[in-house]
């Protein structure tokens, strides 16, 4: 046996070929800079509401420390089913159409693993959250990017979709409200997409993790259209709506035959989602509506403030109506997204995420998160302003 161990030769080529996350790369530097602040993170600044935390403590005290059913606690699945019915008027059977997962993240992963095989084409509107592409590649599927544009408010349009659909298209990813753009799809927007896909054999993965953070006053889902319940797997979770990122809990729902395949993967890879988190989540779904409203109103104020200030500074910013991100264009500075973010960090010790981390079409933009207090946003905007004044003088 040779003494020189070469890990590289043991690694799967599929995994090796996946590039590291573009968000991550940048932020490893931030922590090392004294006094650096960030508008980079993608999780709520609020702590989980107290009554939800208390429910978890109670569950612990009562000794609920065992695995749950593979699908998750039935009481939680029932509460989720009620909630979906209330919001979108579509009924799901909690017994075999809803699976509780380790975050929306796991739900996305197993949905793609269950549906996508070698050579299958997956349509991905970009800019998009970074997890879909690697998941598809690990299933040896092929990502077909659809570019969404600022002039369309970063919505997916019928025309853009038609351009990329082929016979090999298996799955369309809809991720609205969108990370990183903050774009939403209204009922009318979705109707156009529905008209395109209704007579084609295409499944939809609808990542609705930000659906409660919609500032237009009305959320919509592709499942509201005839026949789409069976052809859509919806991913959602507790992280964003209830400020529960650390609890690692999400869910997926859809056609029972497909859901049982997702559950098979979940069963072998995970067994069951964290039990204490599931008890907390029951409390959240049943009694957390007011918390959502409060947080949404706070986000909404920050959103208005950011959009207004950025436009005042000459960083063109379309009005995002969802999630907690704004996605201004920095093209007027003549810099690339990465240059802008690197210089801003060096000069003003402020970290933003370069738009190209979310796909090539994000180039020329930066993602600014408003999961930060107004005071912090003010300080950060002051730094952006100072930076812009400096580079415009040079």
């Amino acid at each position: 046996m040779s003494n020189s161990f070469n890990p590289d030769k043991f690694l799967s080529p599929v995994v090796k070929d996946i590039p590291p996350s573009g968000i991550r790369k940048f932020f490893d530097i931030v922590n090392q800079i004294e006094g650096a602040i960030s508008l980079g993170v993608g999780e709520p600044d609020f702590a989980t509401p107290w009554h939800i935390r208390t429910a978890a403590v109670e569950a612990l005290k009562q000794g609920h420390t065992y695995y749950t059913s593979n699908w998750g606690l039935i009481e939680l699945r029932k509460a989720i089913a009620d909630n979906v019915h209330k919001k979108y008027g579509v009924e799901y059977n909690p017994e075999d159409e809803i699976l509780v997962t380790v975050g929306g993240s796991e739900a996305v992963d197993i949905c793609i693993r269950a549906l996508v095989g070698p050579g299958d084409e997956v349509l991905l509107p970009e800019p998009a959250f970074v997890c879909y592409k690697p998941c598809v590649e690990m299933s040896r599927g092929k990502v077909i990017t659809i570019t969404t544009k600022m002039e369309d408010n970063f919505k997916l349009t019928k025309e853009a979709l038609l351009e990329k659909i082929t016979d090999k298209t298996k799955l369309l990813v809809l991720s609205y409200p969108n990370n990183p753009t903050g774009a939403i799809m209204t009922y009318e927007d979705l109707k156009e997409i529905y008209e395109v896909i209704k007579d084609r054999d295409i499944m939809v993965l609808s990542d609705e993790i930000y659906d409660e953070l919609n500032y237009s006053g009305k959320s919509a889902s592709i499942i509201q259209f005839p026949g789409m319940k069976d052809r859509t797997i919806v991913v959602n979770g507790f992280s964003k709506a209830y400020a529960m990122t650390g609890w690692r809990l999400g869910y997926a729902y859809g056609n029972s035959e497909i859901m049982s395949m997702l559950t098979k993967i979940h069963q072998y890879a995970i067994m069951s989602s964290p039990t204490i988190s599931q008890y907390a989540a029951i409390e959240a779904v049943k009694y957390g509506d007011e918390d959502i409203v409060k947080m949404r109103e706070e986000y909404n104020m920050r959103r208005r403030y950011l959009v207004h200030e950025l436009n005042e500074m000459g960083l063109e910013c379309f009005e995002p109506l969802g999630a907690f991100y704004v996605f201004p264009s920095i093209k007027s500075t003549g810099m690339t997204s990465e240059q802008f973010c690197e210089e801003l960090l060096k000069d003003q010790k402020l970290a933003l995420v370069p738009g190209n981390a979310f796909g090539e079409s994000g180039e020329g933009h930066v993602r600014i998160s408003y999961a930060y207090s107004l005071e912090n946003l003010k300080i950060a905007l002051g730094r952006i302003k100072a930076f812009l004044e400096k580079i415009r003088k040079d």
């Binding site: 993170v41 993608g42 970074v130 403030y305 200030e309």
Partner: protein, 162 residues
């Protein structure tokens, strides 16, 4: 939430927010914001703007106390005349409220030291005819005041995970 409530919440957090800022935060025009604010000032819904001060951090000698008063209600006006007498006569009284439960009036006062406060109660409140009894509680430490957690040391522990 009405625009009025929204503006009150903004001001409750930051009395120094400008009308421009308030308009942006509430998603209305400058003129609308200005009109709503001045109407609320006229109606005394907003009855003042002030700084929140943690006196314990200053050099000033300062104690606060809550005094529970059991009061014999007066014919005709109940507790009003007693409350008004205390309120107008003693500027060191910070707040006075009629309470439900085991006592009647709750008086909050500031003084330079405990003795000051105790003497005030003994010399001015207790001797009043209609006051049946007093119980004085000194504030030893404030954890949260006017909705703001004092000494909040929690720091942002979020990181970029992806």
């Amino acid at each position: 939430m009405s625009k009025q409530t929204q503006i009150l919440k903004i001001l409750e957090k930051n009395a120094r927010a400008t009308i421009e800022e308030i308009a942006v935060l509430a998603g209305i025009t400058y003129d609308e914001a200005a009109a709503i604010i001045s109407e609320m000032e006229d109606r005394k819904i907003i009855f003042g703007y002030k700084a929140l001060i943690d006196w314990d951090k200053t050099e000033e000698e300062n104690v606060s106390a809550f005094i529970e008063l059991k009061v014999r209600p007066q014919l005709g006006d109940g507790f009003d005349s007693v409350a008004k007498k205390i309120m107008y006569e003693y500027p060191n009284v910070k707040s006075i409220s009629l309470m439900s439960g085991g006592f009647d009036l709750l008086v909050e006062i500031d003084g330079n030291n405990m003795k000051d406060v105790a003497l005030f109660v003994a010399e001015h409140l207790s001797p009043m005819d209609c006051i049946l009894s007093t119980t004085t509680h000194f504030v030893l430490r404030r954890y949260k005041k006017d909705g703001i957690i004092l000494e909040d040391k929690s720091k942002d522990e979020r990181r970029m995970t992806l």
